[in-house]
Amino acid sequence: MSEGPRGHLVFACGGSLYAVPAERASEVVNLPSLTRVPGAAPHLLGVFAHRGEVLPVIDLTRLIGKPADEAFRRVVVVRVGRGVMAFTATKVIGVSAIEGAPPRLGESGALAFMHGPARVPSGDCATIDPEGLLEFLARGR
């Protein structure tokens, strides 16, 4: 964690704002048709091939246990050291600088890897810790 404001890609999903560090967000693409994965958790909507790579799509709304909202049109591709994943997005707001580190949103589960609230021009958002979340997800089933 470096000091000072860091650029985050802010996007909306299911009525909430999320932000991922801009250096982890590799690109934003339109949501293609997905291939379902056997025995996968409900928040894993499926996979799609992108640039010779298989990208798993994660529904953030379901992940934090909120009712599903299928209105997303795009996915934000996030790349960390261990792998790659894509988050569903209703609307991509843009890159905003977020100062400091807000506290964690929860002690266990996926919320343990989200911090907030963080102020962005569009409102309050939750910042996602991509490395931790990927680890958490890969540890799961």
Binding site: G7, E23, S26, E27, V28, V29, N30, V92, G94
Partner: protein, 593 residues
């Protein structure tokens, strides 16, 4: 007939029985008379009685045989040898009718013969003096005719009943025409009665008195003179007794004969009287023969035939009356029907007359209405002609509107096409903008990752992104506008479509209105013509109707007259029926038993 068959057996003997009994009775009286008035020598009395009995028996037998031969038909019917036919019955009636006469004549002959035989034989067989024989002969000649008359009357009495029984059921006319009228007349018979009634008792009384005188004289002298007065006293009563007895017996016989004779005349007359009085009371029984002798026969015959004809007449009358009654009843029904019909006709004619009057009135009304209608038709024609012009201009307006509408529709169609093209262009712009957005976003991220070096790049990328987003917002607005335009054009298209249908309908309507108005004008013209015709016709009709009403009144009068006539006929018929009833009553007065 069965009663006749039952009655017949033994009737011949029954008819002859009075003859046998009467002759025997008179013979006994005669013998008694002879024995008490004649002085028979001793030992001759037995001979006399033997002779009397023998000869009398023989005479009776002979008489019966002769009589039986004369009753051949009756006996034949009685034993069933002959069939009971009207012809045989007529012959039997003839036999029975002539029997009394025969018996009387036979009786006289037998008496004379028998007395002569007895006297002759008595004279030859005994020592009796000739005077005695002569006396016997005289007594026989005295009693013979009397016996014959008595027997004849008795048999005649029975013969009358026999004739009536045999004649039962035969027409008196038939009997009378087939039988001869009897020969014996009532006057002759009355003379005979008188002779017997008067002469016989007188002669007997005279003879008895003479004989007694002789006896008294002889005995007077045979008595001693001393006891003569005493003897006379004792003999007087005995002599008186003898006279009274003999004369009484004889008188009795005479009275009996006279009674029987009178009865044989009176009985038929009584029957005639009874029947006549029954007839007078209206009891009309079937005519039967009443048997009788001489003029009585004639009277009873005439009466029977009269009665027979009366019965036939009453029967005919009754039958005719029945026919009259039934004819009258039929006539009554017919006349009643006719009366009803005439009444109905009169009522119908009354109604018709009223209707005709109404018709005449209606005709007058029509005539007055017709001119009003004609005026109305003229006005209608004017209105229709002006309406026709209006309809034409309306139609032209509709056609223009239709054309305008069509051009609007085409314009809307073109607009729709353009809008679709705009939509497609907007879509392309959208896609481009979206891609630009993503590209800008990626560039921004990329710039961010490049740190301070990429900062300017990021800013440019962000600007580009904003631009793309602006474009996207604009295109969204354009899309919204396109949606609105589409909705509007759809509405316009719908409206023009409706307008098209409406104008088409209106054109048809205008055509129809024009057509209707044309036909109205035509009708009005026709109506005007027709009304003129009607007016003319009504005037003519009015005259005709008035004439019809008059004719109707005449017919009504005639029908009422006919009704009156029918009523008179009915009344006459009722009177005829009443008359028939009276006649029936009269006929019924003769209660036919």
């Amino acid at each position: 007939m069965s009663s006749l068959a039952e009655w017949l057996p033994g009737r011949a003997r029954w008819l002859m029985l009075p003859s046998t009994l009467g002759n025997t009775l008179v013979a006994l009286v005669a013998a008694l008379y002879a024995s008490s008035t004649l002085h028979f020598p001793p030992d001759t009395l037995d001979v006399f009685w033997t002779l009397v009995v023998t000869v009398a028996s023989a005479g009776v037998a002979i008489a019966e045989v002769i009589a039986a031969r004369r009753l051949r038909i009756l006996r034949g019917l009685a034993v069933g040898r002959l069939p009971i036919t009207p012809a045989n019955r007529l012959r039997a009636i003839d036999e029975a009718r002539h029997l009394p006469d025969l018996v009387a004549r036979l009786g006289v002959a037998c008496w004379v013969g028998a007395v002569s035989v007895v006297a002759l034989l008595f004279g030859l067989l005994s020592t009796a003096p000739l005077a005695l024989v002569g006396r016997i002969e005289a007594i026989g000649l005295l009693f013979g005719p009397m016996a014959a008359v008595v027997v004849g009357l008795l048999v005649g009495h029975r013969a009358q009943s026999a004739v009536e029984v045999l004649a039962r059921g035969l027409s008196p006319e038939q009997i009378v025409s087939s039988l001869k009228a009897p020969s014996v007349s009532v006057s002759r018979r009355l003379i005979g009665f008188t002779v017997i009634m008067v002469a016989l008792p007188s002669m007997v009384a005279m003879d008895v008195t003479r004989s007694l005188g002789v006896d008294v004289a002889e005995l007077w002298f045979s008595q001693p003179p001393a006891s003569r007065a005493q003897w006379l006293a004792s003999a007087q009563s005995a002599m008186i007794l003898k006279v009274v007895l003999l004369v009484g017996l004889t008188t009795l016989l005479a009275v009996l004969a006279a009674a029987v004779g009178a009865t044989s005349i009176a009985r038929p007359l009584q029957r005639v009287a009874t029947d006549a009085s029954a007839l007078a009371r209206g009891q009309l029984s079937d005519a039967t023969l009443i048997a009788g002798d001489g003029e009585v026969w004639l009277i009873s015959n005439v009466f029977s035939r009269l009665k027979e004809r009366l019965v036939a007449l009453v029967r005919q009358l009754s039958a005719s009356n029945l026919r009259i009654a039934s004819a009258a009843a039929t006539l009554q029904v017919a006349s009643q029907g006719s009366e009803g019909g005439a009444a109905e006709q009169a009522a119908a004619l009354n109604q018709t007359s009223a209707t005709t009057e109404e018709l005449a009135q209606s005709a007058r009304q029509i005539a007055s209405s017709a001119s009003a209608v004609q005026e109305l038709a003229r006005k209608t024609l004017e209105a229709a002609e002006s309406g026709l012009g209006n309809a034409e201009s309306f139609r032209a307006a509709i056609v223009r509107m239709h054309q305008d509408n069509r051009s609007v529709s085409a314009a809307v169609e073109r607009l729709n096409g353009r809008v679709q093209q705009i939509g497609r262009i907007v879509e392309v712009i959208n896609t481009v903008a979206e891609r630009s957005d993503l590209l800008a976003l990626s560039a921004e991220l990329e710039g961010t990752r490049a740190g301070e070096v990429g900062r300017g790049f990021s800013l440019v990328a962000a600007e580009m992104r904003r631009l793309a987003e602006n474009v996207l917002e604009s295109t969204a607005e354009v899309e919204e506008l396109i949606g609105e335009i589409r909705a509007a054009t759809r509405q316009t298209a719908d409206a023009t479509e409706r307008a098209r249908a409406l104008t088409e309908g209106s054109t048809a309507l205008a055509d129809e209105v024009a057509k209707s108005l044309t036909s109205v004008a035509h009708s009005a013209r026709q109506t005007s013509d027709a009304v003129r015709t009607i007016s003319l016709a009504t005037q003519q009709q009015q005259t005709g109707t008035d004439q019809l009403a008059e004719a109707m009144a005449d017919i009504l009068g005639i029908t009422q007259q006919s009704l009156a006539t029918t009523r008179q006929l009915t009344a006459a018929n009722e009177r005829l029926q009443a008359l028939s009833l009276v006649l029936a009553e009269v006929v019924n007065r003769f209660q036919r038993e």
